[in-house]
Structures are given as structure tokens and as C-alpha cells.
């Protein structure tokens, strides 16, 4: 589908200055990493082995981190590696283990409405790609010049312009942490006894 996108945009935007049929090195790298990311994502949502799905998710999220690096947003790339690859995937693996997910292939990983889901996804992909290509076929990102997402720039904008949302977000994280603890605590004797006493 990226190939058809390329062809359509090349046919449409042939008058643009940078030229679509002579992609730069960054574009080639972005395309290759994007293909790997997309393939890993597709395997993630289609594989029958639950643990393999989590491990392919690592590949997909790591590919997205590389794309951030290619877009010169290096701080976000490292945050992606730290949080997604470091903690979210580990949490998902823990969840799979705690719900006693089967190690081998589980044939009922997909529900019965798989073909409806495929239809919806393909229709959405077609519509979105058509709209996006039609809207941005003559738009170019200027990646030269100063790096826009370095740690210095990110820290400065985050603590100069976005301090209040940042602090609110830390409160939200604390609330989520407490909520997760309360939810996942086992209702043992001590807990119920204390709750009964409180009542």
C-alpha cells in the first residue's frame, strides 16, 4: 500500500521541488524501518501465540522509536524506549503470565467477528491513507537546521511552557498507581476485616 501511495503521490506532486522519485537517505531509512514496524504490528495482531504477540510488540514499538530518531525527536525516542519497551511490555508479559495464558499456540486467539474487523480496518486504512496522501502530497518536512527534539529543547519547553500540565500529569500517575494497587490487591482476611471494621 505504501507502494501505491508512492506512485500516486509521485504522479500528483511531480512539480514539487525535492522530487519524489529521488528520495533522500532519511526517507529510504524511514520507509524501511516503517515497513519493519508495520510488519511487526501486523504479526502482533494476528499471531496465535500470545507471548509472541507481546514480543513482536517490542519490535513494533522499537521501530517507532527509530522513526522518532529519524524525525529528530530524540528525547521522545528515548522516552519511548524507556517506558514502552522497558515497562509497558514487561507489564503486559506479567499480565499474560498472571492470567495463565497458554505458552503454545492458542487457536481461539481471534474471535468470530474477525472478518468484520478486517473489513472495518481495511476500509478505515483506505480512507485514511487516501485522505492523508491527498492532503499532504506536496508538503515537506525540513529536517535540516537545529535539532528540534533534543533533550535540551524538550526540557526547556516542558518546564517553561508546560509545567502545569506536567504536574497535573504526575498527580494523575499517582492516582493511577494507587488505583492499580487497590484494584489488584487480594481481598484477604485482613482487608475484609479492616473494611468491615470501617463500616
Amino acid at each position: 500500500m505504501i507502494g501505491t501511495t508512492l506512485a500516486a503521490a509521485a504522479a500528483a506532486g511531480s512539480g514539487a521541488s525535492p522530487g519524489f522519485l529521488s528520495p533522500s537517505g532519511v526517507e529510504i531509512a524511514f520507509l524501511l524501518v516503517g515497513l519493519a514496524t508495520l510488519g511487526a504490528a501486523v504479526v502482533t495482531v494476528t499471531t496465535k501465540q500470545l507471548v509472541h504477540a507481546a514480543l513482536w510488540l517490542v519490535v513494533a514499538l522499537g521501530g517507532i522509536a527509530v522513526e522518532y530518531l529519524l524525525l529528530t525527536a530524540e528525547f521522545i525516542a528515548w522516552v519511548q524506549v524507556l517506558i514502552y519497551l522497558g515497562s509497558v511490555v514487561v507489564l503486559l508479559l506479567f499480565g499474560l503470565m498472571l492470567t495463565k495464558a497458554p505458552i503454545g499456540p492458542s487457536p481461539d486467539a481471534d474471535s468470530g467477528n474477525r472478518w468484520v474487523a478486517l473489513g472495518v480496518a481495511v476500509a478505515a486504512a483506505g480512507a485514511l491513507v487516501w485522505v492523508v496522501v491527498d492532503a499532504f502530497r506536496t508538503t515537506w518536512i525540513d529536517l535540516d537546521g537545529p535539532v528540534q527534539g533534543s533533550t535540551a529543547v524538550s526540557g526547556e519547553i516542558l518546564f517553561r511552557h508546560w509545567v502545569l500540565p506536567f504536574e497535573a500529569l504526575s498527580v494523575l500517575l499517582l492516582a493511577a498507581l494507587i488505583g492499580a494497587i487497590v484494584l489488584s490487591r487480594k481481598n484477604g482476611d485482613t482487608g475484609t476485616a479492616r473494611q468491615e471494621g470501617k463500616r
Binding site: I2, T5, A9, P18, F20, P23, V26, L38, A41, T44, V45, L50, A53, A60, I64, E67, Y68, L70, L71, A73, V79, I83, Y84, V88, L92, F94, G95, L98, T99, A109, D110, S111, G112, N113, V120, A121, V122, A124, A125, L128, V132, F136, T139, W140, I141, Q148, S154, I157, L158, W162, P165, F166, L169, A176, L177, G179, A180, L183, S184, K186
Partner: protein
């Protein structure tokens, strides 16, 4: 770099996640697909931020916030899935049909320890 590359990649990743959310049966796999969709949105945010050369970098700040909220979401979501698994003995979203309309509630297989799911005192009080 052409803006269509990250935009098209984000659209395709989003639709992959959409398929996963609709087609998967295990709740944890649904959460993984939700992560894919959130990452597609993040890629869009970063690409458009770099394109617009925003001086306050709203796209990158929002991406950081989205990543943090996604981490919170995955923690809460996994806690809920674990509690459902502990109470019902399954984490398949197809079998959680208690609120389905026009049908008698199917007898759930209670292979979980038979702790009666009393209404929690925080809710009841």
C-alpha cells in the same frame, strides 16, 4: 522528508491496532492493540510538530503526556483484567456477556476461587 511518509505509516499502524481491538479475544491482546493505536497517534504528533516548527513544541509535549497516560492506562487496564480473571476465571472478552441484551445470562464457569463478589464497601457506602 515528505510528510506523507510518517502520516501514512501512522494511519496504517492505527488501522492495524483497530483490527486488533476488534478481532482479538484475549483482553490483554486488546490492550496491546490499543497501545499500537496510541503509538500511531504519537507518531503523527511528532511528525506534525517537526513539520510546523512550533516554538512551544506542543506536539512533542503532548506526545510525552500521551506516553505517560498510556502507561497509567496499561496499569489500570491490567489491574482490571486481573480482577476479572480472578473473579470469572477467564479474560476473554467474548465470554463476559453479563450485560448482553435480549438473552438470559449464561452460567459462568466459576473456576476462580469462590470468593463471593460482594459489592465493594467503597461503592456500597
Amino acid at each position: 522528508m515528505h510528510l506523507a511518509y510518517p502520516a501514512v505509516l501512522a494511519a496504517l499502524l492505527f488501522c492495524t491496532g483497530l483490527y486488533g481491538v476488534l478481532a482479538r479475544r484475549n483482553a490483554i491482546l486488546v490492550l496491546m492493540s490499543v497501545e499500537l493505536m496510541l503509538n500511531a497517534v504519537n507518531l503523527n504528533l511528532v511528525a506534525f510538530d517537526v513539520w510546523l516548527r512550533d516554538t512551544v513544541h506542543a506536539g512533542q509535549a503532548l506526545t510525552l503526556f500521551t506516553i505517560a497516560i498510556a502507561a497509567a492506562e496499561i496499569g489500570i487496564g491490567l489491574a482490571i483484567v486481573l480482577m476479572v480473571y480472578r473473579n470469572r476465571g477467564t479474560s476473554d472478552v467474548d465470554r463476559l456477556r453479563d450485560t448482553v441484551e435480549g438473552r438470559e445470562p449464561a452460567p459462568t464457569s466459576d473456576s476462580a476461587p469462590a470468593e463471593p463478589t460482594a459489592p465493594r464497601p467503597e461503592v456500597a457506602a
